[in-house]
Amino acid sequence: MTRSRLDLSEFDDTPPNKDPAKLREISDGAGFPSRPAVPAVAAPPVAAPMPQERPQAGTFQRPPRVTGNRNIAINVRVDPETAARLYALRDADPARKRVLADVVADAALLLYEREIDGASQ
């Protein structure tokens, strides 16, 4: 007499501690949600077209860190090209204030260097 072989395939499931779907369910329930493996990076904003309603030049506050005095901030007027870049950066991602501040710092330094160059010639 031949016996039929037991079908045990139903027990081949992934154990719950290695089952991503199960773990995600637990995680979501505990307030630990999934998120993209690689944080989303905003598209390079430099190429963004300059909005028509924007002025051709802009005035930005130069960060106190750049002035060397924590209590003093200086408004810096930048050229149209830099202004467009700054507006695009700000519009693309308001959270990038630090980046914005760094760009303003660079722009301010550039303008200062230009002034020095101009004065020396």
Binding site: P15, P16, N17, K18, P20, K22, L23, R24, E25, I26, S27, D28, G29, A30, G31, F32, P33, S34, R35, A37, V38, P39
Partner: protein, 228 residues
């Protein structure tokens, strides 16, 4: 091979320091250690590129929740100890790592803000253990404690953990210059060039006692599992 994860949804509580201190002591005792750096800033990967890393310690970065289970499994098969340093955030990666762990260490500074986040981590460990029908041991580790004196806040939090029967490691990690020096100069406490590093002797004693407490906890967890 044991897997130990360092968990807190809050950053800046000393997870990475606790991970590296333990790795250094385990390597000193002759163990091989795989460090899995699941912090997006990859501080341990950066450390691994500095001079002084013992050959017994290998470091891999893992920022993908879909890969962390495989990475932990690989570590557990290749090294005697696998230590997972997780990001200070509430993400699914944390749950995935907890589910693979024999011991979850939850660093907590002596503030109520940290204790609240530690409680979140404990809740997640318990839910993961229940959801996966596994035993996952955990313990609070007081970290970055000023060596001179314990604050009333820290004492109060310790009492609350005790009242709630939450396990706390019997050794706390103090705030020491030597621990910061590992990340600046490279190496572990045992291999760092200690010239100019203050009170290395006290740092070594602290690290040694901490590692012994973790091993004792692991042994206890293992015996509970075997009894079950």
């Amino acid at each position: 091979m044991p897997v130990i994860s360092f968990v807190s949804p809050k950053g800046g509580v000393g997870k990475t320091t606790a991970t590296l201190l333990l790795a250094g002591e385990l390597a000193e005792a002759g163990g091989t250690v795989r460090l899995i750096d699941a912090d997006p800033n990859l501080p341990l990967v950066d450390w691994g590129q500095l001079p002084g890393r013992p050959d017994a310690i290998t470091v891999v970065g893992c920022r993908d929740e879909n890969a962390i289970i495989d990475e932990i499994e690989r570590g557990a098969s290749e090294a005697r100890f696998t230590l997972v340093d997780l990001e200070g955030a509430a993400t699914a990666t944390v749950t995935f790592a907890i589910a693979q762990s024999d011991l979850v260490i939850i660093p907590c500074k002596g503030s109520h803000l940290d204790a609240t986040q530690a409680a979140r981590a404990i809740k997640l460990v318990k839910q993961t253990a229940r959801g996966t029908r596994t035993e996952i041991d955990y313990a609070i580790l007081f970290s970055q404690i000023p060596p001179a004196l314990r604050s009333n806040n820290q004492k109060d939090i310790a009492e609350q953990f005790n009242d709630a029967e939450i396990p706390v490691l019997p050794v706390m990690i103090y705030n020491r210059e030597a621990y910061r020096a590992m990340f600046a100069a490279g190496g572990t406490l045992r291999t760092i060039n200690d010239k100019g590093v203050g009170n290395m002797k006290a740092a070594l004693e602290n690290a040694e006692a901490y590692a012994a407490a973790v091993i004792a906890r692991l042994r206890k967890a293992r015996s509970v599992k075997e009894a079950a």
